[in-house]
Symmetry: C2
């Protein structure tokens, strides 16, 4: 039985699927991690899926180096990737022949580990890194240098950065999000398989727990400091804010990015063992929120606006000048907002008796120069939380608009 | 709202929970990865949970070095661990005070990232490594050397082993399985927090997709070669086989292990990129099964017994002499059976353009000398699959019987 047949059979069990969906809906508020819808997210559209899409529970993110010198070969791969991505988002095999209906003498055109699994909300989102336009040696390998948006300016070095170049950057990235990690891993692996000889995996990151909501319908999850994270995130329902802060608008730069967005990724190691030995009151002072409710200090409810003016009996601000919530707040950063879409990670241990754990931060925005860069500059300079975190990898990518219909492909407007 | 209160509230939503359970049951056969029951698995019992327990979808496995010289301190930690493990398995905070009801001046006694999440089928299973009884320098640190079971003999070096000692061995291990990875990670982290100063994390491994079934009620999942794995696994329903092959029996060795079992872990890197370029027929010949159905070659159904005598038109055995299914079969290994409980992993990339992916193999058994060792010896010598895999880490642990009731603790019969 191949995956397509499994999907068809699943379609027959309408009652079962309905029960699952209603159970998922009932669970959603209290149970972000396993509510996972098993259905498909539409691949085609004005914008790429995987940005404002209801944040799925699992992530496999990969950055690729382009190893061919041929623009034609790169474009051909992007066409093949787009077709495979649309098929996998619909819960089908990556290739037309499949893993098990194949020609015995040829390698299967799907790797098979997702056979029988439903679409699981899979989204695949592509981005183009600065090095695709001009590499580290200044070479315009693919005749794209003139098309590089000014907003895709290399990020500055922030105070405290401890970046490992081997797990930073990349010519291309693909973000796979799904409610089943096997489906996300399968998708990335099949794109790497299709790209063999054209691209090579530069780095890759699994995330197991979403740390932001992208909709008012989702409960705010907790990061590995045990705090609710992303309460003030941009959300899918905020159309005006998304236009102003998320999507590239006409006149912002080269037209091929209109309707796209820029992503910044930061792998943030958290020194959880040190954090866990910090008193509760100190943890809350550093974050600026209560650990239980997520309410800003001095407030009652998670979604109360933080009041930065209020002072305690000691005359000091209730939310400290260096509290994370104050430093990151739009009011302190010229109104800058981000759509965050990060995930918790644990990558084994660090050889020093500690878990290698933290947050794989992903944020989408209209212009990193006006959004991520000023916010991160303020945080890197003053945030007391820096004692407990290390930024170890960084990525910046221009994510083009969506693929409108079958035949269109990722980056068509860029490659012309 | 703390976790306990969240659980209490969840209890009110009986209809919702019922719908979720029935949806999970309906999905189970076709959808092993997200069917995840959110309920609790009983912690107390004759045997430890997490061995024959219906295999959960996610794993966090950790090996610890004991860093104290004090037997009393080690025993005290095992008491604390046991109490915390029982609480967490029931969906409660690791400590009595919790993450958010705590004393402001003290660190929270729960790290908080599982607040609001249900028990998610969490099981915690402890094991004692050979080095706990006598360390690498031959020192009997805790007066346990005389209690070391003969069955806990160091594994031999197998042909092709490429073991990294930094991610092998360990004085203690804890296997956390759950249907929500955040719950499994939370449990390991809190045990590490409680053990601070007594134990230190030696290595740790996340797994995202179970690769074996432990019950006839579970569908057989697929490994990263795209094949169904563990079809012939020992299953919870096979009581006679479990007595003969899984649980340590009276007279097998020191009485403290009666009702326990031995685990062997092997981190097996799979060279998936090479595998993906191998023809379908060759993949199937190497495994000895059809990729789609999982049926043994020459058979029709996944659960057909392989017929090793049948030959093809060319006079060669339909299942090759060196096929994995033949070499691993009990008939070829003196009847040896294992209860496998492995998980797929992807640990980023390897710096050479490839995913660092594979299988974290876990097998439970009555005596590794008669089960894992002969089977692995045969595989290491002859299995053609060895071209596509590397064993990079190894662990061996004596997993004692269950904790019978509150007040009892992990390893009580060993430490007396």
């Amino acid at each position: 039985m191949n995956r397509r047949r499994a999907i068809a059979l699943a379609g027959i069990g309408v009652v079962g699927a309905g029960a699952a969906a209603s159970a998922a809906a009932l669970l959603r508020d209290d149970h972000p991690a396993t509510a996972g819808a098993s259905g498909a997210v539409e691949f085609y559209g004005e914008q790429q899926a995987g940005i404002v899409t209801l944040a799925q529970d699992r992530l496999h993110f990969v950055a690729f180096d382009v190893v061919t010198k041929s623009r034609d070969r790169l474009v051909e791969m992007l066409r093949e990737w787009t077709e495979a991505a649309a098929r996998m988002a619909a819960g089908k095999d990556a290739g037309l022949i499949g893993a098990v209906d194949g020609i015995p003498e040829a390698p299967p055109d799907d790797t098979g580990e997702a056979l029988g699994l439903p679409p699981s909300g899979l989204t695949l989102t592509i981005g183009f890194g600065p090095s695709l336009f001009r590499n580290a040696d200044g070479v315009d390998r693919f005749g794209l240098a003139a098309q590089r948006p000014a907003a895709l300016a290399d990020l500055p070095r922030f105070p405290g950065d401890a970046l490992d170049p081997k797990i930073s950057g990349g010519d291309l990235c693909v973000q796979a999000c799904a409610n089943d990690p096997q489906v996300a891993v399968h998708a990335i692996r099949n794109l790497a398989r299709i790209g063999f000889g054209t691209v090579s995996v530069r780095w890759s990151q699994l995330g197991f727990g979403r740390t932001s909501s992208t909709s008012t319908a989702q409960a705010t999850p907790r990061n590995l400091f045990g705090f609710k994270d992303g309460t003030a995130n941009l959300k899918a329902e905020e159309e005006g804010l998304l236009r102003d802060h998320l999507w590239v608008q006409p006149g912002d730069g080269p037209s091929w990015m209109e309707g796209g967005s820029y992503s910044v990724t930061r792998k943030i190691r958290m020194l959880v063992e040190t954090w866990d030995r910090t008193p509760l009151a100190e943890q809350e002072a550093i974050v600026g929120r209560a650990k239980g409710s997520g309410a800003p200090l001095g407030g009652k409810d998670e979604f109360d606006e933080p009041d930065f003016a209020v002072k305690g009996e000691d005359g000091e601000p209730t939310i400290a000048e260096v509290a994370h919530v104050r430093l990151a707040h739009p009011d302190q950063n010229g109104g800058a907002r981000l759509l965050r879409r990060g995930y918790n990670f644990v990558d084994g241990s660090d050889g020093l008796g500690r878990l290698n754990a933290g947050l794989f931060f992903i944020a989408y925005q209209r212009d990193p120069r006006k959004q991520f860069v000023p916010v991160q500059t303020a945080l890197a300079r003053n945030d007391v939380m820096n004692e407990y975190i290390r930024h170890v990898s960084s990525g910046l990518f221009a994510c083009p608009p969506g693929v409108r219909e079958k035949g269109d492909f990722w980056g068509r407007a860029l490659f012309g």
